[in-house]
């Protein structure tokens, strides 16, 4: 009996690994064309779905930032991107003389959009979530903490598309009024993402703060500590693992969030020159473009997906290794 149970538990646990590796391999195979084509230069190339003229392959390649505007080449642009062109692309251009234009895909814009919107969300949500959690766990009397706690848990359960609509129609105009710039922008997307992950972070942080044993808090008070000192020196260090867990989960959610961001980020493949500019994120690029994508475009979307997978995985592993080792 025990053996059966152990095998069952073991196989469920290994299933997680199998799925993880399976997803990785699938993404890798699906993006292989794009990887062969653009190599690692994909990551730093800001052009997406851009036609490049192949008329004069020995000279510097002409390319356009914008696909509608396909005539005169922009010298500045060309110089900028020279280094980014992967070697594979070059050789391929020499081999194939049939076509005279070639469509280029690069992931820099959505990668930057994803990272920046996530960072904005985290910077905005983290202090507020900690404040709410401290209030609920330590300051508010039970009869107030309880209903607020439930409200926050409900907020965490609202589907993201509702956050997106609310953000677009009510929140974005206010933000644009306050700080200027576009209504759909990195900033509004990041802030709405922040509002989305906030209740979730606050609820988990409150729960882990509540696990601090009363006698530990009492013994700090018995040393003459104030409430603030007990929160800072006892409760935060004690619940550190849980708090970091909540940040990691929130980070994962923010990185992969599609609907709310799709409403607000503007969905254009342009590098933002300020945080009030519109841009695009990886999940939004995938959601918007998979319908029409084929060939190299489709493969490049898979390449983006692979990059998102690796980013999420790397951030979570680093956070875990770094903080959880520190916590021991």
């Amino acid at each position: 009996m025990e053996k059966i149970f152990r095998n069952l538990a073991f196989s469920s646990a290994s299933l997680v690994f199998v799925i993880l590796i399976g997803i990785f391999i699938t993404l890798f195979l699906a993006s292989k064309d794009s990887i062969d084509e653009f190599g690692l230069g994909f990551i730093v190339n800001p052009n997406w779905n851009t036609e490049i003229s192949l008329s004069n392959p020995n000279a510097n390649m002409d390319m356009d930032m914008d696909m509608d505007d396909s005539s005169a080449s922009d010298d500045m642009m060309m110089l900028d991107d020279e280094d980014d062109m992967p070697a594979e692309a070059d050789t391929m251009l020499f081999d194939e003389d049939v076509k005279d234009t070639f469509t280029e895909y690069g992931g820099l814009v959505p990668i930057v959009g994803t990272l920046l919107s996530t960072i904005i969300a985290l910077v905005f949500a983290l202090p507020i979530a900690m404040g709410i959690a401290v209030f609920l766990a330590e300051i508010a009397p039970k009869n107030i903490a309880y209903p607020i706690g439930i409200a926050i848990e409900l907020l965490a359960a609202i589907p993201s598309i509702i956050f997106g609509m609310w953000g677009l129609y009510y929140f974005a105009p206010i933000v644009a009024d306050l700080v200027g710039g576009y209504q759909v922008s990195l900033l509004t997307a990041g802030l709405v993402l922040g509002v989305m992950i906030l209740p979730f972070m606050a609820a988990i942080t409150r729960d882990s703060m509540n696990t601090t044993p009363d006698v530990l808090k009492e013994s700090a008070y018995a040393m003459g500590a104030t409430k603030f000192e007990v929160i800072k020196d006892i409760i935060f260090p004690y619940s550190k693992v849980g708090i970091i867990g909540s940040i990691i989960l929130a980070l994962g959610r923010a990185l992969g969030e599609t609907m709310a961001v799709a409403f607000l980020i503007g969905s254009i493949f342009t590098l933002p020159s300020s945080i009030t500019d519109p841009t695009i994120s990886i999940p939004v690029a995938m959601a918007n473009n998979f319908g029409e994508a084929a060939g190299l475009g489709e493969s490049s979307l898979f390449y983006l997906a692979l990059i998102l997978f690796i980013i999420s995985f790397a951030i979570i592993s680093i956070a875990k290794l770094y903080f959880l080792r520190g916590a021991k």
Partner: protein, 260 residues
């Protein structure tokens, strides 16, 4: 000489109709160990936790009577039940320390644990901190075991070491009274012995009140003993008198193991 004088003291928990302590009269004497004994639920912890008003972390308790604490500088007795402001509570708790049943090391290094009370009391000077931490660890009979790993987490110590760390941490702020609530009930006999020795050593500097379920412990280390039963103080006297010729029948029954 009493450092603490408890008079006509009654205590009622919030949302409870009847008091958990009724009309208690006893003293904690200077540089003596006073033991509180009695069957489970008789109110020993409740009484001890009134002496530093740690009860007040939770609202709604009712106190009656007085608990006077000797003010060392003026030699006057001051009623701690009058305290209302936060800074007065902090001062009270710096003067009346407390050790709990389970060791409660803070999630920080050994050094920081012992320095904690000093730091929050505003001592910043590094060499003064180091000196007082060392002295406190020596007073806590722990210095020899930990002096080479002061920067390691306190969680890595054994239970007995953790409890001595908590004692050192309490001693570091030089309190006048330290309250112990069953400090050895979670420890093995050897660690228990070490702590008992430590208490006898410590009473040169502080006055001690200790709750214990262990009759031998009370008779070994205490100078005075209070026997409590169902919220009443049945008998309070010198430890020899309580153990050798108790005046009350209930006391005798309890210490001879006939009930409780």
């Amino acid at each position: 000489m009493p450092v603490m004088n408890i008079q006509d003291f009654s205590f009622t928990y919030p949302n409870v109709s009847h008091p958990s302590l009724k009309n208690i009269n006893m003293k904690i004497r200077k540089n003596k160990i006073t033991a509180l004994i009695g069957p489970s639920g008789c109110g020993k912890s409740t009484l001890l936790r009134s002496m530093n008003r740690i009860h007040d972390l939770y609202p709604g308790n009712r106190y009656e009577g007085t608990i006077d604490l000797l003010n060392d500088s003026t030699q006057k007795m001051e009623n701690i039940l009058d305290i209302k402001k936060e800074n007065e509570f902090i001062e009270l708790r710096q003067r009346v320390g407390m050790i709990f049943q389970k060791p409660t090391p803070f999630p920080m290094s050994i050094f920081d644990n012992v320095a904690y009370g000093l730091k929050i009391a505003g001592i910043k000077n590094k060499s003064e901190l180091a000196g007082r931490v060392e002295q406190a660890l020596k007073d806590g009979a722990l210095w020899k075991e930990v002096n080479d790993r002061l920067d390691k987490s306190a969680m890595g110590l054994s239970g007995g070491q953790q409890q001595r760390l908590c004692i050192a941490r309490a001693v570091a702020v030089k309190p006048e009274v330290i309250l112990f609530d069953e400090p050895t009930s979670a420890l093995d006999p050897i660690s228990t012995g070490a702590i008992e020795e430590l208490l006898v050593e410590l009473k040169k500097d502080v006055s001690i009140a200790i709750v214990t379920h262990n009759m031998q412990q009370a008779s070994r280390i205490s100078d005075y003993t209070a026997f409590m039963y169902l919220g009443d103080l049945i008998e309070f006297d010198k430890t020899e008198s309580i153990f050798l010729n108790p005046k009350e029948k209930q006391t005798e029954d309890y210490i001879t193991g006939r009930f409780g």
